[in-house]
C-alpha cells in the first residue's frame, strides 16, 4: 500500500505508539484485501456496532481503554448500536439478576468509555442510525468507517454512501486515523452486481423473507434486483425505505450482503441502470414457491414446538416512525376485528430513542399504548442471547433475530394475527 507522508509518519510512531498500532491495524486490514491506498473518511458521523457492556467482552473494553489512556480518540462523533437493557421489557426476577449482574454488569462502564471516545449523544443508541430523527444519515458518495451489517447495507444501497462491511473495532480505528482502505464496496468495480435477481411473485414479497432468500443465495456478492419496483414504486418514500431497511438487514444477516441495487429505485440503479451488472452475472429467480421453500427451511428450535409464545419482538432492526404509525393502525383494526382490546401475547416494539421521542409527540403514541404494546429502545438480539431467554418461546418477524437467536420467525401478517387474536 502506498501511504502519504502524513499516514507513513503516523505508522512510524511519530504521533505515539498507540496511534501507530491503530494505523497498522487499518493498513494491514486493507492490505489483506489488496487495497493500494487509504482514502479519507468523509461522513459527518461514524457508527459503531458495539454497544453492549457484556462482561465477557473484557478484551474489547481493555482495548478501548488503551485508546482512551493514550488520548487516541476520533474527531468524528458516532452513534452506536442499541442498548441491551431496558427495564420496561418483560423480564422475570431471575432474568433481571442475570441481565444486570451476570451479563451486562459492565454496561455503565462501557457507556462511559463510549462517551469519552465520542458518542454523539448520550442516547445515540440504535442500529438504525440513518433514520431522520437520529440524524446520522450520510450523503450519496460519502465514505464511511461504519460497522453494523444492517446499517452498512442501508447506507450503501439506499443512501448511496460507500462503506465496506467493517467489523467492530475496525469501525472506530478507521474513524480515529480518519482514513479507510480503498477496496471492495468503496470502488466502482466492487459495487457492480454479480447476481441478477428476478422477482416473479404474485404479491408483494415479505421484506424479511425476500432478504433472507437473497442473502443465503448470493452470500457477500452484490445483487441487482429486478421486478421489486413493481411492488415498491420508483420513489424512496418512507414506506419503501422501511421495507428496504428490513429487507437489507435480512440479506446482511442471513448472508453477508453489503450492497444491493433495486432496479429503478435505489440511487445508483436509477443513475446507472443495468450498466451496474457485471459481465457473467448469475441469475436467481424468486417466485412464490421459492419464498415458501425458504420459509419452510427455517428450523424451529423451541423445545416444545407447539408452545404458546410468551413474547413477541418487532423491530430488529429498529422500527421507523412510519412503521410505528402504520403498525398502530394495523393493530387497532385487527384487535377490533377480533373483539380484543389489547394484544394477547406480550409484545415489544423497538425503535431508536430519538424516534420514540418523536413518536411520543404524535397522537399514535397513546393509541399504541392502548393496544398493550410496549415501546422500547432495547436490542432484542441482546435480550435473547442468554440461556434464560433462549428457552423462552419468542416470536418475531425479524429474520435477523431468527438467525442469531431461538426466536421463531413469522410473516408480519402472521404476527399480527397471533398477537391480536391468539395462537391457533
Amino acid at each position: 500500500m502506498v501511504l502519504t507522508n502524513e499516514q507513513q509518519a503516523i505508522l512510524n510512531g511519530e504521533k505515539g505508539e498507540t496511534l501507530a498500532k491503530v494505523m497498522e491495524t487499518v493498513v494491514r486490514y486493507g492490505e489483506l484485501f489488496g487495497a493500494e491506498k487509504l482514502v479519507p473518511v468523509t461522513s459527518k458521523y461514524n457508527h459503531l456496532v458495539t454497544s453492549f457492556g457484556l462482561k465477557m467482552m473484557t478484551p474489547v473494553f481493555d482495548l478501548m481503554q488503551q485508546l482512551i489512556d493514550a488520548g487516541v480518540v476520533s474527531e468524528q462523533k458516532f452513534s452506536a448500536d442499541p442498548r441491551p437493557l431496558d427495564p420496561n421489557v418483560p423480564q422475570n426476577l431471575l432474568q433481571k439478576i442475570v441481565f444486570n449482574v451476570a451479563m451486562y454488569s459492565k454496561q455503565d462502564f462501557y457507556e462511559g468509555q463510549l462517551q469519552t471516545l465520542g458518542l454523539m449523544d448520550k442516547n445515540a443508541f440504535t442500529c438504525a442510525c440513518y433514520l431522520d430523527q437520529v440524524a446520522n444519515k450520510p450523503q450519496k458518495g460519502e465514505v464511511l468507517s461504519w460497522a453494523e451489517s444492517s446499517a452498512v447495507v442501508y447506507a450503501n444501497s439506499v443512501l448511496g454512501a460507500r462503506c465496506n462491511r467493517n467489523s467492530g473495532i475496525i469501525d472506530i480505528m478507521g474513524s480515529i486515523v480518519g482514513y479507510v482502505p480503498y477496496f471492495g464496496l468503496l470502488t466502482d468495480e466492487g459495487r457492480k452486481a454479480t447476481w441478477v435477481v428476478e422477482i416473479k411473485t404474485t404479491k408483494k414479497p415479505e421484506a424479511q423473507l425476500l432478504g433472507s432468500a437473497i442473502g443465503m443465495k448470493v452470500m457477500e456478492d452484490v445483487p441487482y434486483i429486478k421486478g421489486l419496483d413493481a411492488w415498491l414504486g420508483d420513489e424512496l418514500n418512507d414506506a419503501a425505505c422501511s421495507y428496504l431497511k428490513d429487507f437489507g438487514a435480512a440479506t446482511a444477516s442471513n448472508g453477508a450482503v453489503g450492497l444491493y441495487h433495486v432496479d429503478n429505485l435505489t440511487p445508483e440503479a436509477k443513475e446507472l441502470g443495468e450498466s451496474l451488472i457485471a459481465e457473467g452475472a448469475k441469475t436467481y429467480v424468486i417466485d412464490d414457491a421459492e419464498l415458501q421453500r425458504i420459509y419452510d427451511s427455517y428450523p424451529v428450535i423451541w423445545k416444545n414446538k407447539d408452545a404458546k409464545p410468551k413474547l413477541c419482538f418487532m423491530g430488529c432492526p429498529h422500527m421507523s416512525l412510519e412503521q410505528l404509525k402504520s403498525w398502530t393502525v394495523r393493530l387497532e383494526d385487527s384487535l377490533e376485528a377480533a373483539g380484543n382490546k389489547k394484544v394477547v401475547i406480550p409484545t415489544v416494539f423497538t425503535s431508536a430513542p430519538a424516534v420514540i421521542e418523536e413518536f411520543n409527540k404524535t397522537e399514535y403514541a397513546a393509541r399504541l399504548k392502548a393496544t398493550g404494546v410496549i415501546l422500547s429502545y432495547i436490542c432484542p438480539l441482546m435480550y435473547m442471547n442468554n440461556p434464560l431467554s433462549k428457552s423462552m418461546p419468542v416470536i418475531t418477524s425479524s429474520n435477523k433475530l431468527r438467525t442469531y437467536t431461538t426466536a421463531r420467525y413469522y410473516t408480519d401478517e402472521e404476527i399480527l394475527e397471533k398477537i391480536t387474536k391468539g395462537v391457533k
Partner: protein, 149 residues
C-alpha cells in the same frame, strides 16, 4: 495424504483435527456460547449451520468458505483469541472476508500472547472444502500448505 496450497493470512505451523462448515460461518451465532457463557470448547451455537451446530471449534482446524452475518464478527474472533477459545487454525476455501480478516489482524496487532495464536490460510479452493471431512488430521505449514491426512 493430499496437499492444498493457499495464501497465508496469519502464518504458523499447527496440526489439528478438522471440523468443516460448507456454509458460511456466522461468527456471532457460532461463538456466542464461548464468549457469553464460558464455554471453553467454543461449541458452535448456530442453529442454521447443521455442519457445525453443537460441535467444538476451539483447538480445531476450522474449514470454511467464508464468514457471514453480524459485523461484530471480527471482534468476536478477537475476543475468542484473547480468551484462548479460538480454533487452532481457520482454513478458508475462498478469499477471507472483511469481518474475519479484521478479527485476525486486530488479534495479531493488539494481542501479544502465544495462547491467542491462530493460524489462518485462505484461498484454498473449492476442492479443499469438498475433500476435507470432520475428524481428518490437518497439518498447516508456514508457507500456506495444508496437508490432509
Amino acid at each position: 495424504m493430499k496437499v492444498f496450497k493457499g495464501r497465508i493470512v496469519a502464518p504458523g505451523n499447527v496440526t489439528a483435527e478438522a471440523v468443516v462448515s460448507h456454509a458460511g460461518l456466522n461468527t456471532l451465532a457460532s461463538f456466542q456460547g464461548a464468549l457469553q457463557f464460558g464455554d471453553k470448547k467454543a461449541t458452535c451455537g448456530d442453529q442454521n449451520n447443521p455442519d457445525l451446530y453443537n460441535k467444538q471449534m476451539a483447538g480445531k482446524a476450522l474449514c470454511l468458505p467464508q464468514t457471514i452475518g453480524s459485523t461484530t464478527g471480527g471482534l468476536v474472533l478477537y475476543c475468542a483469541c484473547a480468551m484462548g477459545r479460538q480454533p487452532a487454525a481457520m482454513l478458508f476455501s475462498m478469499p477471507i472476508d472483511s469481518l474475519a480478516g479484521a478479527g485476525v489482524v486486530i488479534a495479531d496487532v493488539w494481542l501479544n500472547d502465544e495462547k491467542a495464536k491462530m493460524v489462518v490460510v485462505d484461498s484454498l479452493g473449492e476442492e479443499f472444502l469438498n475433500y476435507v471431512k470432520d475428524g481428518m488430521s490437518l497439518t498447516v505449514k508456514e508457507d500456506g500448505t495444508v496437508e490432509v491426512n
